[in-house]
């Protein structure tokens, strides 16, 4: 019976009243690859961050080797022998592989001046690369490496730190299947060396290939844990597809009008391949796909935020140029981003300044007018703000999201692109957002909704297109869209 190296009991974590991890119980055994599978927003990354000491748990216990472990900072985690390989790599571009591997623990040559023993550094690094069977030269500069190779460097670093528990957060995201193979090989080597690996992924085929145990998480709750032997693709899809709020989405069924927007042969290098679709007046078009499917890139390209490499946009039948955000605003396109902290909101500006951020101030008179207009809008949504001159972050997440939506109402937009419209906001605000969508469609606007919450997409969309590896692989109408069907194609089914 192998030893349990990491044990989580009743781990709970919430952000601003929003429970993201709900009584998580998990055991990781020595020499085991334990995969955690779930959609975006299921709580996987937060779980990693709690174990890594980045976020503190609200309650529950972490045990390492049967002893209670208080992990309060990333340093604590490292001292307990935990290494994390994040989705985004943290490497110094201008350093060599060897320098990155031994960043803190480089071998020192004692002499007149204590200096790094470069020969030993490269020798040791090359040793490790060879042992892990990475086909790389330790003297190569990191900026010359692709994403898959960078991840391998990070893994080598974890290996040299004598980490016993290695957590990998989506190690194969944004890289091809062929590039993933060396990573899988390396995971097996680590396993043979007695390391324990927590493998976070939403790529089911990868997980089924390398994991010993599979835990399925959804909306912060663990649904089930299996031995890989006893489960197949279809079973996991079925468990992932249990839907909860099927009938709760209050979306009006309005009459659809003429074609307002269409995309022809859209390509973006490395991200999107020959995308075609048409949007009608009053319609809600859902776009489904896992992280890395190209769904966010599609949203950004439609908004002129990412450069397309080929293809064309048509509005009301006329070809239009959308190459910048200014272009898209001019054509009445609005974008409500996935990550409002980074892309949409100016947290330190006041509520009113945020509302006016889509306006181009020209004349004082103009700006007075739009300020008046902004105030009227705020009154109409009953935003409970004491003072509109307060900074944006004084509002709750739900109210921030409403504000980011309302600011586009002022620009007379006709096409609204939502990227994760209700991610991380409270349920009451969700209901508000859906009803604001109703206000848009009943007055003839058209919506494109990108969401990792398949339940939500089905609840609100008239049509759903599924993206996989940057291409549209399936389209569903209201009658055929089920969580099972959509998940099947999202996870690469044919």
């Amino acid at each position: 019976m192998p030893d349990t190296v990491l044990k989580l009991s009743n781990i709970t974590k919430s952000f601003g009243g929003n429970v993201v991890l709900n009584k998580i119980n998990l055991e990781l055994e020595e020499g085991q690859v334990h995969a955690i599978v779930g959609e975006n927003g299921a709580g996987k990354s937060v779980l990693v961050q709690v174990i890594a000491g980045i976020h503190r748990k609200d309650s529950g216990e972490i045990e390492i080797d049967g002893k209670r472990a208080d992990i309060l900072s990333p340093k604590h985690a490292r001292n307990y022998g935990i290494s994390v390989i994040f989705q985004e790599t943290f490497l110094f571009d201008h350093f060599t592989i060897a320098e990155n591997i031994f960043l803190k623990d480089a071998p020192i040559k004692i002499g007149l001046i204590n200096a790094v023993d470069m020969q030993k550094l490269y020798g040791n690094a090359q040793d490790i690369l060879d042992r892990l069977e990475f086909p790389l030269d330790a003297r190569t500069c990191v900026r010359e490496l692709n994403l898959a190779q960078r991840r391998m460097v990070e893994i080598a670093r974890a290996f040299t730190r004598q980490s016993r528990i290695i957590i990998m957060d989506e190690p194969t995201s944004s890289i091809s299947r062929a590039e993933s193979l060396p990573i899988f090989k390396m995971i097996n080597l680590l396993k043979a060396n007695g390391k324990s690996i927590l493998y976070i992924s939403h790529r089911l085929e990868d997980v089924l290939e390398i994991a010993d145990k599979i835990t399925i998480i959804k909306k912060g709750i663990i649904l089930d844990t299996f031995d890989n032997k006893n489960i197949d693709y279809k079973d996991v899809i079925d468990i992932l597809s249990i839907n909860s709020y099927k009938n709760a989405y209050p979306i009006l069924d309005v009459k659809k009008g003429k074609e307002v927007f269409s995309v022809r042969n859209l390509c973006v290098d490395n991200y999107l391949d020959d995308i075609n679709f048409t949007l009608y007046q009053g319609e809600i078009l859902g776009i489904s796909g896992l992280a890395g499917s190209g769904r966010s890139e599609l949203a950004k390209t439609l908004f002129g935020f990412m450069k397309k490499s080929c293809g064309a946009f048509y509005m009301n039948g006329h070809k239009v140029r959308i190459n910048s955000i200014m272009d898209s605003i001019k054509h009445g396109v609005a974008y409500i981003p996935e990550n409002r902290m980074d892309e949409g909101a100016f947290l330190n500006l006041s509520i009113i300044q945020n509302l006016l951020s889509t306006q181009r101030p020209r004349l004082l008179k103009n700006s007075m007018n739009s300020k008046d207009k902004a105030l009227r809008y705020i009154n109409k949504v009953h935003l409970e703000a004491d003072n509109l001159n307060n900074q944006l972050f004084t509002l709750s997440g739900g109210n921030q999201q409403k504000l980011l939506l309302i600011k586009w109402f002022i620009t007379n937009s006709r096409i609204f692109i939502f990227n994760e419209p209700t991610k991380g906001i409270d349920v009451a605000s969700k209901v508000d957002i859906y009803n604001l969508m109703n206000d848009l469609i009943r007055k003839g606007a058209s919506l494109i909704i990108i969401s990792s919450d398949v339940d939500e997409l089905i609840g609100i969309s008239d049509r759903i297109i599924v993206l996989y590896n940057g291409a549209i692989i399936k389209e569903f109408g209201k009658e055929t869209a089920t969580v099972e069907n959509i998940n099947y194609y999202c996870y690469g089914g044919k």
């Binding site: 009006l252 009154n379 009803n435 604001l436």
Partner: protein, 262 residues
Amino acid sequence: MFAAERIRLIKKLLLENKKVDVSELSNLLSVTEVTIRRDLEKLDNENFLIRTHGGAILNEEKLAAENWPYESIKDDFFLEKSIIGKIASLMVRDNDTIILGPGITCLHIAKNISEKKNLRVVTNDINIATELANESPNIKVVLTGGDLDPSTLQLSGTLTESILDGIYVNRSFIEVDGVHMENGYSVESIEKASVIKKIMSKSKESIAVCDYSKFNSTSFYYLCPITTFSKVISNEQVPGNYKQYFFENGIKLFITYDVYEG
């Protein structure tokens, strides 16, 4: 004080006095004259009043032209109800058969369905039947008989119910007078509750309508539990715990945002 409350108070004063004064309102409500002017502008846009130098007067002509029963104009939640009427009308299809239950909110629905084709409406509210007869002659109207309540012009009693017995419809709109987590839905009289229960039993789908002031309150007579209606139409001011409860229990809550101007 929130803008919505302020506007409601201004409306109330207007309906009672037929005119208001900017500086008086500013003193009364402790907000600047600029704010008051903005509120008046809003109500002007809604055709509720006509702005004058230093104040505003009630737009009686407009309100009279729309044939509103006097009591309903005095309603504190006139605007809230009127948008509920618009949203509800989007749930009425061409070729539909519906029942409009008794009440002012249902009257607002009746005012928004004149464009529908081949529609049949059953009602026990004389105000609604009159409105449809005047403004939407293409709609087939069935008025139930029954005992007349002279103050509301609504019909009820065994005769009303026995007529409803023979009728089947696709959907009905039910105006409720109280919505409460524990006490469920309630209405103001036993007679009304009895007719509404009959209406609900004759409809494939029943939709509850009421302005937000009815939430967290209980009226005289119990109608049904809180989970009964699968669709509810009200306003954005509905308390957050109800929004959450409805969503988590698979009930669609439509609220009447009216922000986008296209």
